[in-house]
């Protein structure tokens, strides 16, 4: 194989790069404005209430954090599992992982009741709280992946490359376990409190992270007018297919387990049958758009050579993933808590026993989209400053 050269991301014209940055910057500025508006007025201006306490910002934040650890997978395959086709993509994989995590954390932070107390979150730890562990896991992720990236880029540090590769891989598994456990450890709500949440979030991260990776990789190579070979893309596509199938399998296992337990029939019929918008999001969003159609696009011989099919499948995986997290986070809260088993609530001033309404507000949406823009800005700036992208990713043998 010919030697791989990496180069900073320069677009055809400076305008092309800076126009992209200006667009991202505008989205970020709007998001910060939305966050300020929500914090200034208080959370009553959002769709969140005392019943649905985590709203759209959490969906975006969890989505990005889960995708971040998954985006690192390509680098892990290159270093931990020794895949030569994946190794040149390792640098970008790490950069994207850092960017996505930063984007998610900004959204999470700006939705806190007291974001000004970040320093308290960083200095007061309750080690029984999975949230506190996550703060450590997230900070550690930045550090480890940052050093990992360095070992890939600096020849002098290259001897630590494999060690760091292993460290980063185990750390990302721990991180997603932590994210899934946020829900897995909640005994109060029937939709959560399941150990399967942790591995399910890991497999979700594989899928969303790779989809993000494919889309941003293709976009960057179009942006920078560089060559991207079909063979490498086909590898990524096939891998995405495996992950999408695995996500469907975990969804099936989760719901089958719940269906077996009579106590959980209420929440299951809510999500699967009569939950209105949540049922639609589950079947149409998560299963059809996020699972079945992408699988068809990936495995049908008709689209074997079609690059648009890879892009479409990845975009659909991301849309379906968003709905999946929405159903978990919001759907799980919308379903009434079983405070009085065996009783029907006739009257309550606090919405006991009723399905809780939640309508996301525009500022929440803008904040969440801003998180994606922050991730993309970091990737664009990082790719411009460091030699992250191979000059050419044409298939081996083509250039010979």
């Amino acid at each position: 194989m010919s030697k791989m050269y990496y180069r900073e991301l320069y677009c055809g014209t400076p305008v092309r790069y800076w126009a992209g940055m200006a667009l991202l910057g505008t989205i970020v500025a709007v998001a910060l404005g939305a966050a300020f508006y929500m914090e200034h007025n208080g959370h009553w201006v959002t769709g969140m209430t005392n019943q649905v306490v985590w709203g759209l910002p959490h969906v975006f934040a969890i989505y990005l954090i889960v995708a971040a650890s998954g985006a690192l997978n390509v680098a892990s395959i290159g270093s931990v599992f020794g895949g030569p086709m994946y190794k040149p993509l390792g640098r970008f994989s790490s950069l994207l992982a850092i960017g996505l995590l930063a984007g998610g954390l900004v959204v999470l932070l700006l939705d806190l009741g007291r974001p000004d107390r970040l320093i308290i979150a960083m200095t007061y730890y309750n080690f029984k709280s999975i949230f506190a562990w996550n703060i450590i896991l997230y900070s550690g992720f930045f550090a480890i992946v940052g050093i990992y990236l360095w070992t890939m880029m600096d020849r002098k540090a290259n001897r630590y490359y494999r060690t760091l590769g292993f460290a980063a891989f185990f750390w990302r598994l721990a991180l997603t376990t932590g994210t899934g456990s946020i829900f897995g450890f909640l005994v109060a709500r029937e939709a959560y409190d399941a150990a399967i949440m942790a591995p399910m979030f890991i497999i979700m991260s594989f899928s969303y992270g790779l989809a993000f990776f494919i889309i941003t990789l293709i976009a960057a190579y179009i942006w920078g007018n560089r060559e991207l070979g079909d063979l490498r893309l086909a590898r990524l596509k096939n891998l995405l297919g495996v992950f999408v199938g695995a996500v469907l399998y975990f969804a099936l296992a989760y719901h089958l387990t719940n269906l077996y337990v009579t106590q959980h029939h209420g929440i299951e019929s809510f999500i699967l049958l009569n939950g209105g918008v949540y049922t639609a999001m589950f079947w149409i969003g998560q299963i059809l758009i996020g699972g079945i159609i992408p699988l068809f696009l990936i495995y049908s011989p008709a689209f074997d050579k079609a690059r648009w099919a890879v892009v479409a499948a990845s975009v659909m995986v991301l849309i379906g993933g968003f709905f999946q997290i929405y159903v978990i986070v919001i759907g799980g809260q919308a379903f009434p808590m079983s405070i009085f088993p065996g009783k029907e609530v006739l009257e309550s001033s606090f919405y006991d026993g009723t399905v809780n309404a939640y309508a996301p507000s525009l500022p929440e949406m803008l904040l969440g989209i801003g998180g994606i823009a922050i991730a993309m800005t970091m990737v664009a700036v990082g790719a411009r400053m460091f030699k992250v992208f191979p000059e050419s990713l044409e298939d081996p043998g083509e250039s010979a």
């Binding site: 009741g113 007061y124 999975i130 909640l186 109060a188």
Partner: protein, 250 residues
């Protein structure tokens, strides 16, 4: 007389030592004094594990249409409605229940159940949710970051998030926009040595007597006697949280 050798000047060393000691004493002494004075005040004695405060709520006595306890709690703690029931803080609420099998109808009040093993305390990342030695579960408004994980974890929906700016706060319960809060079991009263919570007082005054508050660890207290003589239950007893609030006739 001057000695020409490299022996250190011990006088200077003593002088520096004495100065540092004196300065240290001046700095520390007022703090020690204040601490001693403050410790003498009964309100700052701190909670004692010799008590466990609890409540017994008699679902048969909770009267239809009555909201005396809710109103009393609101005025005691300065909880004002903004006409937005979804986001307004509610520390105590009335709930009317019907048994699905028998059709029997009950009414009761729900609030923080002051669990022995509170899930809100487990999940709180900063330790702002905490349980006092006397069993009262509280939120430290100085370290709450407003993440609402405790609200996700509480099986009783006992907590509220402050969704807006606050005005005219009560001295009894300092609150904070962007923080989570809930029933304090009128901790300000307990720390003053009083024996009735605001809700119990109001319920008693209206002649219902549905709420009994007291020390679960004192075998002679009214609540201990009542719990001993009649059947009571914890809500969501299956979670084994050992709640401080118990219900009879439910």
């Amino acid at each position: 007389m001057s000695v020409k050798n490299d022996q250190p000047d011990m006088n200077r060393r003593k002088f520096v030592g004495a100065t540092v000691a004196a300065a240290g004493a001046v700095v520390v002494a007022p703090g020690v004094l204040l601490h001693t004075v403050a410790g003498a005040d009964p309100e700052s004695q701190g909670a004692s594990a010799k008590h466990r405060w609890g409540m017994l709520i008699d679902a048969n006595k909770c009267a239809e249409g009555c909201s005396a306890c809710v109103d009393a709690c609101n005025s005691e703690h300065g909880l004002t409605s903004h006409g937005r029931p979804e986001t307004d803080a509610q520390w105590i609420r009335t709930v009317k229940l019907k048994d699905l099998n028998t059709g029997h109808i009950n009414r009761l009040v729900m609030m923080c159940q002051h669990c022995e093993h509170p899930p809100c305390v487990d999940v709180c990342p900063t330790g702002a949710s905490f349980k006092r030695a006397d069993g009262i579960v509280l939120v430290d408004r100085h370290t709450c970051i407003g993440c609402r994980y405790c609200m996700m974890a509480c099986p009783y929906k006992a907590r509220s998030f402050v969704h807006e700016d606050l005005k005219d706060q009560s001295v009894n319960a300092p609150r904070g926009k962007g923080c989570v809060e809930g029933c304090t079991m009128c901790v300000h009263r307990i720390d003053r040595g009083e024996t009735m919570t605001a809700c119990q007082e109001a319920c008693h005054k209206d002649g219902h007597g549905a709420i009994v508050f007291g020390d679960l660890k004192d075998p002679d207290s009214e609540i201990s006697q009542a719990l001993k003589s009649q059947n009571s239950r914890q809500i969501r007893a299956d979670l084994k949280l050992n709640t401080g609030v118990r219900y009879s006739n439910l």
